[in-house]
């Protein structure tokens, strides 16, 4: 007893044990209960056919890997994965280059540049549902901007969101509209750490502005670029809220589904807990595999 007390006394110098006992549990408990346990339970539920209204032991039917087989063989799911990939592709080809060009144009500090920065960043602070709803109006073939344009040229009313080949492209425009300013700000923060001396020296050596941008600035802000690529992929993988006001049930013929809208439509709306959980597990695996490989091979590499 005496020894234990002595040991505790030493261990608790400066209130060490007390502090650990008070500081560790709150965050760890909330995190475990509401983030880790649910994803672990997704793993369990995904092997069942279950509506969630009765306890799993009574109403759940073990189906093994059937849910996974169904999902991986479902053409709507293939479309959802492809659309998720399209968000990443558009991001790489249009959004990030646009953000980079704008960042270089307005990276220096001045009042005018500051106004442009504020304007470009503004859509990012909106909720995704608001961005979606505003553009839902713009795309309305009867009222919005699209209606005004078709009216002007005397064309038939056109509803891009109801058109199978246009719906998802229309959504991609909203994605760029809302997020390019965010990536631009990441690049501006990166550009501000590039030393002015370096740029001056390059100018003295006769480098043109374009050479400076491509050969000096771009390589130096690679850390900011790889970070913004990471965020745009993670953003694409969880894309959901913006789509809700724009298209219902994945748009015309399910052509505008992404992975999470697919999960919502086939898991939550139809009360298929097992099926939805299996989609969640697939999404989880994709996220973790991507995050680990990206951290290991891109983020960890020097420069």
């Amino acid at each position: 007893m005496g020894r234990l007390r002595d040991w505790l006394y030493v261990q608790n110098t400066g209130g060490r044990l007390t502090t650990l006992l008070l500081f560790l549990p709150p965050a760890l408990m909330i995190f475990t209960l509401f983030a880790i346990l649910p994803i672990a339970e997704s793993g369990l539920y995904s092997f069942y056919n279950w509506n969630g209204f009765v306890p799993l032991a009574d109403g759940g039917r073990w189906v093994g890997l059937r849910n996974y087989e169904q999902i991986l063989g479902h053409s709507v799911f293939h479309q959802a994965v492809w659309n998720t990939a399209r968000i990443v592709i558009i991001s790489m080809l249009i959004q990030l280059p646009l953000a980079m060009v704008l960042a270089m144009l307005i990276a220096s500090k001045s009042a005018v540049n500051n106004v442009f920065r504020l304007i470009f960043f503004l859509p990012f602070i909106l909720a995704d549902v608001v961005a979606g709803l505003i553009w839902r109006f713009i795309y309305d073939g009867n009222y919005g901007l699209v209606a005004a344009i078709t009216h002007l040229f005397g064309l038939e009313p056109f509803y891009p969101l109801a058109d199978q080949s246009w719906a998802f492209n229309a959504i991609l425009v909203v994605v760029v509209w809302k997020y390019f300013g965010y990536h631009m700000m990441i690049y501006i923060a990166g550009l501000q750490s590039v030393s002015d001396d370096l740029i001056e020296a390059a100018k003295l050596d006769g480098a043109t502005p374009i050479q400076i941008a491509l050969r000096i600035k771009l390589p130096l802000i690679w850390p900011a670029i790889r970070l913004s690529i990471f965020f745009s992929v993670i953003g694409a993988l969880q894309f959901f809220e913006m789509a809700v006001p724009l298209v219902q049930s994945g748009g015309p013929g399910g052509s505008a589904h992404t992975i999470v809208t697919y999960l919502y439509e086939y898991g939550i709306v139809r009360s298929r807990v097992g099926f939805g959980s299996a989609v969640g597990v697939i999404l989880f695996l994709v996220c973790v595999v991507f995050a680990f490989t990206y951290q290991r091979y891109v983020m960890a590499s020097h420069k």
């Binding site: 901007l145 923060a189 939550i268 969640g280 973790v288």
Partner: protein, 279 residues
């Protein structure tokens, strides 16, 4: 010489052209939305871009005078207020044990928490719903707050830990020699020095929570506890094609965010991108 001037003229007009065109692309939807709320339906149909012929404030007044609007704003305020406070307190305490204390399994626990950064809340939404339901927390603020906290913790702990580790080590050693306990050191020395990181993390969580739609959508069924994004979608469902009302409603609901952004732009940009760049 003239050649250089010409090319700089071309590149300068290209620069301004691109900036103005992008600004137009960004601002046009805002312009249409704010003005749309002042128009009649008929006018909205023929002239979505023009200034309203008469500034009809009925739609705006209806919304501003409706108690529902204010109740929803209040609900959002409560949910966001609790989410931000709980994240700031619990994440900073946890991060402090990682940065200033040695204990068995520290690195494992840290990796465990950081795992939370790798998957979005949507992946676990169904079991999360069942858990919240079984705890009896559906249709309560707590049913939205706790999942929001859980999915905000990882990034916050990372940011706090990075900041705490940059605090001077001498400070800590001197305090311990003077017999200051860990707890007192944290509350009286570390916290007052941490205002920049508290602001960064606070803004980051605040914006996420204020704008969050998926958790309230799943957890809340009772209109009395709806935060504003759910209220907005409900309003949209109720008024269908009365776009002038819906646009007015959008304008009213984005006002707090826009005002806060203009008022605290430095902190917001730092909170939403600085955290990213440092992390």
């Amino acid at each position: 010489m003239q050649h250089i001037e010409q090319s700089s003229l071309v590149s300068r007009s290209a620069k301004w052209g691109l900036l103005l065109l992008t600004a137009l692309f960004v601002l046009l939807p805002f312009w249409i939305t704010v003005l749309g709320g002042f128009k009649t339906l008929g006018e909205l149909r023929v002239a979505p871009l023009a200034l309203p012929r008469t500034w009809d404030t009925t739609a705006y007044m209806d919304i501003l005078l409706s108690p529902t609007t204010w109740r929803m704003m209040m609900n959002s305020l409560i949910i966001t207020g609790f989410t931000v406070s709980i994240v700031l307190i619990t994440a900073s305490m946890l991060a402090f044990t990682f940065s200033h204390m040695k204990f068995a399994g520290r690195n494992y626990i840290y990796s465990y928490v950081i795992l939370g950064m790798m998957f979005p809340g949507a992946t676990a939404i169904l079991p999360l719903f069942i858990k919240v339901r079984d705890l009896g927390l559906l249709d309560t603020y707590a049913g939205v707050i706790l999942p929001q906290v859980a999915f905000g913790l990882a990034m916050s702990v990372l940011l706090f830990r990075t900041f705490f580790e940059q605090l001077p080590k001498d400070l800590f050693e001197a305090a311990l020699v003077d017999g200051c306990s860990y707890g007192r050191f944290f509350w009286t020395i570390v916290m007052p020095l941490s205002q920049p990181i508290l602001a960064t993390v606070g803004v980051f969580i605040l914006v996420q929570s204020w704008n969050n739609y998926i958790f309230p959508l799943i957890m809340l069924n009772d209109r009395a506890v709806y935060p504003w994004p759910l209220g907005l979608m409900e309003f949209r469902g109720q008024y269908g094609a009365e776009w002038n009302r819906i646009l007015a409603y959008i304008t009213v609901t984005i006002m707090p965010a826009v005002a806060f952004f203009l008022y605290a732009q430095k902190y917001i940009v730092a909170g939403l991108t600085g955290g990213a760049v440092k992390g």
